[in-house]
């Protein structure tokens, strides 16, 4: 699915604009949506999923204008959505909950619904607990129920908000792989603060800040923003000034910093940038 966002603005009464004249084209495949808190990521995802309407501007999905109720309804038939904060009905079992979501997604054939439910619960590793009430499951397991529900109905557009928050490393990697597989033949919009997830799975990335687009293009391009500006300092006592610190590694001689800057301290060694460096380099440009 090709998503075209045209001069999109969303105002909430009494608050700064959540989205401010955003224009961006998102190709098919895995797209990472990143940005600081309050950048407008969740608002954009809610507009893309047809939950809220923009104040001005338009969204086209495969050329279909989402301002038309019929197009929105049609989109919802091919949509999978995982909100950031979701507590599934906790007195249902994962099996029953997915069945409920299947009904909401208009999968009328009961046999088909059950088959999908079982397959998805197996994919997210919940087969053993599928008949227990969700109330008794751990936080990570509940998140996996959320992930499984987003995949019900084999959606062509998958919008996932912080999907790996609360998952253990093993599950996170498993879900990342699953998303990458899904992204081969459909659109997946992944909003996350875990840049490693984006680096590993998304060939395309969009960075939002204050409701505006700060970057939109290949992930490599964002990494490249920090090329020639990423350094490892020698062990020093105080953090370097005029630099964005990416991480700090304590050593017996002092702390060694990974920084993004144009003016590194003496003795620093230039290193190959990664997505975190690129993102921070972009952030320091604003």
């Amino acid at each position: 699915m090709f998503i075209s966002i045209d001069h999109l603005t969303k105002d909430f009464r009494g608050r700064p604009a959540a989205l401010n004249d955003l224009t961006v084209d998102l190709p098919q495949g895995m797209i990472g949506l990143i940005g600081p808190n309050g950048a407008g990521k969740t608002t954009l995802m809610r507009i893309l999923t047809g939950i809220i309407k923009p104040t001005t501007g338009k969204v086209f999905i495969d050329g279909q204008d989402l301002s038309s109720p019929a197009n929105r309804r049609n989109l919802k038939r091919h949509l999978g959505y995982l909100p950031q904060h979701i507590t599934p009905y906790d007195n249902l079992s994962p099996l029953e909950f997915l069945d409920y979501i299947g009904i909401l997604k208009m999968i009328d054939n009961k046999h088909m619904r059950q088959e999908q439910t079982h397959t998805l619960l197996e994919q997210v590793g919940l087969k053993d607990v599928m008949n227990l009430p969700i109330r008794g499951l751990s936080g990570g397991m509940r998140r996996r129920v959320g992930i499984a529900q987003a995949l019900m109905g084999d959606p062509q557009l998958l919008v996932v908000d912080e999907p790996t928050a609360g998952l253990d490393p093993e599950e996170r990697m498993r879900f990342r792989t699953l998303l990458a597989q899904l992204g081969q033949d459909r659109s997946v919009i992944l909003s996350t603060h875990i840049l490693d997830d984006v680096a590993q799975t998304c060939p395309w990335v969009c960075v939002l800040r204050f409701g505006r687009k700060q970057y939109d293009g290949p992930t490599e391009g964002l990494i490249h923003e920090a090329a020639g500006h990423t350094w490892i300092t020698p062990p020093i006592a105080a953090p370097p000034e005029n630099a964005t610190i990416i991480n700090a590694e304590p050593t017996p001689q002092g702390t060694r910093y990974r920084i993004v800057t144009d003016t590194p301290p003496a003795g620093s060694v230039e290193t190959a940038p990664n997505l975190e460096d690129g993102y921070m380099a972009l952030a320091s440009e604003r």
Binding site: G136, L137, S138, G139, R142
Partner: protein, 205 residues
């Protein structure tokens, strides 16, 4: 004191509620006093004076449920029980004071229904105490807002339609259920002291 202050700050709207209700009912009484005879106003007051009892129970159910930081409170020296009991006492205290004022006002206007003198104050005060003690017990037992919200209605219905019409002596009418409610509250107080139970009941495993 600071602890009570911070709870009061959090609950001040609910603390104001009984006084607003009292002022409203007294105003209605004052307004009607010049228009209707006391015999016609009293049945209306019989209905209106039940409002604070229901409101007290529902408010107590509201403040005793749905707090997301039970685990956090249990990890401090204060503990969850002190938080709950303080909240209940604040709400109960506010409603008791307000209903006391309501009684005084209506008694002096000779509008209190079934007025048997100053001893009749035990009726509204006792009702609120009984309802709130039992709501506290149910909130501790179930940690469920819907169940706790239904409890005051059930208790009020019992008092209003089953107990009060048959036990007419104001002291006996209130003292017997009051003892039962107090015993329930003590049981709830004991149970609320079990930190493990409090945390396991609400926290995700």
């Amino acid at each position: 004191m600071a602890f009570v202050g911070i709870q009061l700050k959090r609950l001040y709207r609910l603390v104001l509620l009984p006084f607003i209700l009292t002022a409203g009912i007294l105003f209605v009484g004052f307004l009607l006093e010049g228009i209707w005879s006391p015999g016609r106003i009293r049945p209306l007051m019989m209905v209106l004076t039940q409002v604070p009892v229901i409101a007290a129970g529902l408010s107590t159910a509201f403040v005793l449920n749905g707090d997301p930081i039970i685990e956090l409170a249990e990890s401090t020296p204060t503990g969850w029980r002190k938080v709950q009991v303080t909240r209940m006492l604040i709400i109960t205290g506010a409603f008791l004071t307000a209903v006391g004022l309501l009684f005084i006002g209506l008694h002096m206007m000779r509008l209190w229904p079934r007025d048997m003198g100053w001893v009749s104050i035990i009726s509204p005060v006792g009702s609120i105490f009984i309802v709130n003690c039992l709501v506290f017990l149910i909130a501790v037992l179930t940690t469920s807002m819907p169940t706790s919200s239904l409890a005051p209605i059930a208790i009020w219905l019992f008092l209003c339609f089953v107990w009060d019409p048959y036990i007419t002596d104001p002291v006996r009418q209130r003292l017997i259920p009051l003892f039962i409610a107090a015993a329930g509250a003590i049981f709830g107080w004991n149970m609320c002291g079990d930190a493990e139970r409090n945390v396991v009941k609400v926290a995700a495993l």
